[in-house]
């Protein structure tokens, strides 16, 4: 372990990246699913 480096800075950067990536992926997949299903149902109703 290299002394003198702020270890918490690395931990927080890794957590921020991992959490933001996971939330973006989850939100995008949910929103694109709802949008695709809404478009399909609109054509069905027409």
């Amino acid at each position: 372990m290299h002394e003198g480096l702020d270890q918490w800075g690395f931990v927080i950067a890794a957590y921020a990246l991992g959490i933001a990536g996971t939330l973006l992926l989850t939100g995008w997949s949910w929103i694109s699913m709802r949008r695709a299903e809404r478009r399909r149902d609109e054509v069905k109703r027409r």
């Binding site: 372990m1 690395f10 991992g18 699913m33 695709a36 299903e37 399909r40």
Partner: protein, 242 residues
């Protein structure tokens, strides 16, 4: 198993399973990450940076698991010709690519304080980077096949061929000298102290449930897009006939 290849049966199952997996995955993941960040003690050698384990290991597991899902679905598509299997393979690609990228980035962040470098071209890191490129190639190929009306067997074969990289990633730290540590968890054995192992297993479970929910949501989106296209085409034909 074949019964679930029926899209109607799949959609009725996925309608409740998607939110169930996403919510349980988010709750477990949040709990495991809070546990890893706040309650786990610093490691004797790695200090506070050991906490990166709880994000890095599940994302590595899902990066490799995503391609394994692509390979298994590709076999099911090539053997039984189930269109749902091709959809499952396509649905696993983007989440698998995202977790591979998270694994590489968090590994690089961890490498700087642990090894003194952000990156080394050793077997483990390089084979994981190859996996990221394979995912990008698969996503581009599947999109091109859908857009230009090519055979869905092409991405399925690519998915199978790319699976060669999975055992290479797994064995890379045994076959070649590496800064990366050798496997800490093998079948029935673990070199990790239970204080780290238990929250790690909870994190792996939480991220896996989340991954399952995301794949189901992607499958539902792809199926809805196909149904939308088919309905538009049917309506166009009806208008022409009239």
């Amino acid at each position: 198993m074949h019964g679930f290849a029926n899209p109607r049966r799949f959609l009725s199952l996925a309608s409740w399973l998607t939110p169930a997996l996403l919510v349980s995955g988010l709750v477990l993941t949040a709990g495991a990450l809070a546990w890893g960040l706040l309650a786990v003690p610093p490691d004797r050698l790695m200090g506070e940076t050991v906490r990166i384990l709880f994000i890095h290991v599940p994302s590595a597991w899902l990066g490799m698991g995503g391609w394994t899902a692509i390979a298994v679905s590709s076999i099911a598509f090539l053997v039984w010709k189930h269109p749902l299997a091709a959809t499952a393979a396509r649905a696993a690609a983007v989440p698998g690519m995202a977790f591979t990228a998270i694994c590489l980035l968090t590994g690089s962040i961890w490498g700087r304080p642990a090894w003194g470098t952000w990156w080394v071209w050793d077997g483990r890191l390089t084979s994981m980077l190859v996996l990221l490129f394979l995912y990008a190639g698969y996503v581009a190929l599947a999109q091109a096949v859908e857009r230009d009306g090519g055979s869905p067997r092409i991405p399925a074969i690519f998915g199978l061929v790319g699976a060669v990289n999975i055992p290479i990633i797994n064995r890379s730290v045994v076959w070649w000298n590496s800064l990366h540590q050798p496997p800490s968890i093998t079948i029935g054995k673990s070199a990790i102290d239970p204080e780290f192992l238990i929250p790690l297993l909870v994190a792996v479970l939480g991220f896996s449930l989340l991954f399952g929910g995301v794949v189901l949501a992607r499958m539902r989106a792809l199926i809805a897009e196909m149904q939308h296209e088919a309905r538009l085409r049917r309506k166009a034909w009806e208008a022409i006939d009239a």
